[in-house]
């Protein structure tokens, strides 16, 4: 057993370490926990307006029954994004910025149109600022969104996040793949990406926390408007909620899909449980054809038919559902083609193909305009609600 020769100098080194103190030590109550970040261009200068919504811990952790206190504070900076950002925050915020747990980032339409590349580099650059966060575009002036309290949810950042997650769970109009890192990937490969647009209902932002006493739920609140379409890192257009639904279906973004059909005069609502979508790009002679096949098991949520529900009715519903999907998606593809948006990402599919012939086709930038799209869909109704045959009413 070698004598403990390493003990003596070790004590010297460790002692000198302990005296030197700890560099990375930051107490919990020295942290300004950021929950929501907003970015907007500052009038016509090249600076940006940055909004940091910081949580007030005492405001949230109050026991039940205590009067509602301000749960968040918004700090506004006017500064160029990239340079010396670290040192301007301490001018105003007395604590160290802790941006690792922020829930969402809201970008104004103006800023989105001018390109987000700088913001993405800024966010990915430092490990403390992540890009695994939902990106939202706001068409209302951004200070109205950042400066208002939201009923029911103490933290506005969390409310935006739950809007997106619930919406994608229930209706499938928004997919959860709308994070900043998805924009990064699509930006480089030239694909299209769609991010939710939110707006503020009401004229004035409700700055005061006693707004939470009012019974009014909808006005003075954030609401989902539609989708913002991005090519590379610029916002180029808007999609309505309805178009968003088709976009998500055709790009395998989500498994949920909701559709109301009218069969022999009465409405029927069908919701898909899991949709599987196959995209195959084929070359027939000189002609490029994109085959899209959709398979779905559906759930009949609302059935207002006067006719007794029999399998024939089901077949009828399924046929109508398939037919509606083919017609509507063709219409959606035509509209977007007119506006010059490669919604199906055909250019990207071309790029993925192997072989010299495909390479030649991929060179021509708007080859995707001349591609014929064939859509076929098959679905099967699996579950119905608790009404086996709806009431007739007479």
């Amino acid at each position: 057993m070698p004598p403990a020769i390493w003990k003596l100098p070790v004590v010297v080194i460790l002692a000198s370490f302990l005296l030197a103190g700890c560099w990375d030590m930051k107490e919990i109550n020295q942290l300004a926990i950021v929950n929501l970040i907003g970015v907007d261009t500052h009038k016509n200068t090249d600076k940006q307006e940055l909004y940091y919504q910081v949580i007030n811990p005492k405001g949230i952790a109050t026991q039940a029954g205590a009067p509602e206190k301000a749960t968040v504070y918004t700090y506004r900076f006017i500064e160029r994004l990239g340079d010396q950002f670290e040192d301007i925050s301490p001018d105003v915020i007395p604590r160290q910025l802790f941006t690792q747990h922020y829930q969402a980032i809201v970008v104004s339409e103006r800023y989105a149109k001018s390109g987000l590349r700088e913001l993405l580099n800024f966010k990915e650059g430092h490990p403390e600022r992540g890009t695994n966060v939902y990106l939202l575009v706001s068409d209302a002036p951004i200070d109205r969104i950042m400066d208002s309290f939201i009923p029911l949810e103490p933290l506005p950042g969390r409310s935006m996040r739950s809007i997106i997650e619930n919406q994608s769970e229930m209706t499938g109009r928004i997919s959860t793949h709308t994070r900043m890192k998805d924009l990064i990937e699509n930006m480089e490969t030239g694909q299209i990406s769609v991010f939710p647009i939110i707006t503020y209902i009401g004229e004035k932002s409700s700055e005061n926390s006693n707004r939470l006493e009012h019974i009014q739920g909808t006005n003075g609140n954030i609401a989902l408007l539609g989708g913002a379409l991005f090519i590379h890192d610029r916002m180029v257009g808007k999609l309505t909620k309805d178009e968003m639904k088709w976009y998500n279906l055709l790009n395998r973004k989500h498994e949920r899909f909701l559709e109301t059909l009218v069969i022999n005069g009465e409405s029927v609502q069908v919701k898909t449980l899991n949709t599987r979508l196959m995209k195959k790009l084929e070359l027939h002679g000189e002609e490029l054809i994109l085959h899209i096949q959709i398979f779905a098991n559906t759930n009949l949520i609302f059935n207002d038919q006067k006719v007794p529900t029999t399998t024939t009715l089901f077949n009828q519903i399924e046929a109508e559902f398939n037919q509606r999907i083919q017609k509507e998606s063709q219409r959606f593809i035509e509209d977007s083609r007119k506006k010059g948006w490669d919604v199906l990402g055909i250019q990207y599919l071309l790029h993925l193909k192997k072989g010299a012939q495909w390479k030649r086709l991929a060179e021509d930038k708007d080859r995707w305009k001349k591609v014929k799209v064939v859509i076929s869909s098959h679905n099967k109704i699996e579950t119905i609600g608790s009404l086996i045959s709806p009431y007739k009413g007479e």
Binding site: C22, K26, E27, I28, I33, A61
Partner: protein
């Protein structure tokens, strides 16, 4: 001869000289009254000498020969040298000295005051035998003999300590225990140069190879059934005179999580309990360090709601997290020590109740955050789960080491602490068996009894790490 012996014994209060016959030559008895069985002495020595001794002949040798034959004592011994006589008297024997003769007769009438066999205090178990060892070596040996009626059970006698001369016995089953382990232990015991051995822990320190290790490489226990179980697995036990605790060697790290109850309960219940003990070891060692490094270095590990509530809690706390933890833990240690020193009944309760009361008061006074009190009391309670008390102490030492490292450089310090601990554990070995045996030098067949307590039906092979002679149980 008699005078020389008395002069050597320096006439302490309890040395008695009793002249039996005084006519032609003096025959006298010398004994230590405190450690001699009086009525046995009266009945078997004094009465026959005074009444039945035939005519007193004037030849001392004749009467000596008579005493030698007719005195009905269990063990007679002739002692010629003064030293032997003195040793005999001090060992509780009574000496018959006849004038004019150089040899004397020693009769064994020793009766040391002993305690009755009672329940072991440290290691209680709900089910299983309730008898524990006592201070008397013979009684302890009988307790083991009672359980192991096997001719190959050996008790080797070794006398240690040149003033106390405590007899300690090395117990092993020769058909199972590995020979080199037994030889190593016996040679090491024989090589001990000390004057006194009052408790088996003296031997423990001599037997331990590494001096600077907080981890005990020998298991101490007061229960004969534990000793028998380990003997059957090829280990060696060391019983010492005057202490109820026996030492068991060789021992691995994972034996510390084994309690005798594991083998008396059902298999799956025992396995879950064993995992609970391992978890509580990890809790006891890592929670303070982890809490400090999360609260003051990488806060992002906490989920957001917890982070917010912790921030709200720590709003008014004056100390940084590291100092606060140090303060609370020293208070807990003080309270625990106070609990131990109190009389047995109040002891354990005081330390827990005191801790929580002090904790609450500190929180009310705003000195400490509630989260810290929870963390420190969880560590303290998890520390009590360790079945072996000396293992509990080593946990407390490591707790503080990890706290300092985490307080100094956060998670990285904790990582280095864990690595130092692992290297230290892995480099230890107790009597030829690797200390971290079934895991570090992986011996898969032994996993069934360390990490998991397999049901009896499957346990038909012996643990291989102790190199037993017999492979099948």
């Amino acid at each position: 001869m008699l005078d020389a012996v008395l002069q050597k014994l320096s006439l302490s209060m309890d040395v008695a000289v009793y002249p039996v016959v005084s006519s032609p030559y003096k025959i006298s008895l010398v004994y230590v009254s405190s450690i001699v069985d009086k009525n046995q002495l009266l009945q078997f020595v004094i009465r026959p000498l005074t009444e039945h001794m035939p005519c007193v002949t004037d030849d001392p040798a004749e009467s000596f020969r008579w005493c030698n034959e007719y005195l009905p004592a269990a063990e007679k011994q002739q002692a010629s040298s003064v030293q032997a006589c003195v040793e005999g008297i001090l060992a509780g024997k009574c000496l018959i000295a006849i004038d004019g003769l150089s040899t004397c007769l020693l009769l064994d009438t020793a009766k040391f005051p002993t305690r009755a066999i009672s329940e072991p205090t440290a290691e209680t178990s709900i089910r299983g035998p309730q008898e524990g060892f006592t201070e008397e070596l013979e009684i302890n040996i009988s307790l083991i003999r009672k359980r192991l009626r096997d001719p190959r059970l050996h008790f080797e006698k070794i006398i240690i300590g040149h003033t106390t001369k405590t007899t300690s016995s090395v117990v092993y089953i020769s058909s199972i225990a590995a020979d080199e382990t037994v030889d190593k232990i016996c040679s090491r015991l024989r090589s001990i140069q000390t004057d006194s051995v009052l408790e088996s822990s003296y031997l423990e320190e001599w037997l331990q190879e590494t001096i600077w290790s907080p981890f005990p490489t020998l298991l101490n226990t007061e229960r004969p059934d534990v000793v028998t179980a380990h003997l059957l697995e090829g280990k060696v036990a060391i019983l010492t005179e005057g202490t109820p605790t026996a030492i068991l060697a060789p021992m691995t790290f994972f034996q510390m999580f084994v309690t005798p109850e594991d083998y008396y309960q059902r298999a799956e219940f025992a396995t879950l309990l064993r995992w609970l003990r391992i978890l509580s070891f990890l809790l006891a060692v890592f929670t303070p360090g982890l809490y400090i490094s999360i609260v003051s270095f990488n806060q992002e590990l906490l989920p957001t709601p917890l982070l917010i509530s912790l921030a709200a809690q720590r709003e008014g706390v004056p100390f940084p997290a590291f100092l606060e933890a140090l303060l609370m833990m020293t208070i807990f240690e003080v309270l625990r020590e106070a609990g131990l020193r109190m009389p047995r009944i109040a002891g354990q309760a005081i330390s827990i109740v005191g801790a929580l009361v002090v904790g609450e008061a500190a929180v009310a006074a705003g000195l400490v955050s509630t989260g810290m009190v929870i963390v420190v009391s969880v560590t303290a309670i998890a520390n009590f789960v360790a079945p072996n008390y000396s293992f509990g102490i080593s946990q407390r030492i490591i707790q503080f080491l990890f706290l300092f490292l985490a307080g100094f450089i956060g998670l990285f310090g904790l990582l280095c602490g864990f690595l130092l601990l692992l290297i230290h554990l892995v480099s230890l070995d107790s009597f030829g068996t690797a200390y971290f045996a079934p895991l570090a030098p992986t011996v898969l067949s032994d996993w069934k009894d360390t990490l998991v307590r397999a049901p009896k039906k499957w346990m038909h092979t012996m643990p291989r790490i102790f190199r037993p002679k017999r492979k099948v149980r």
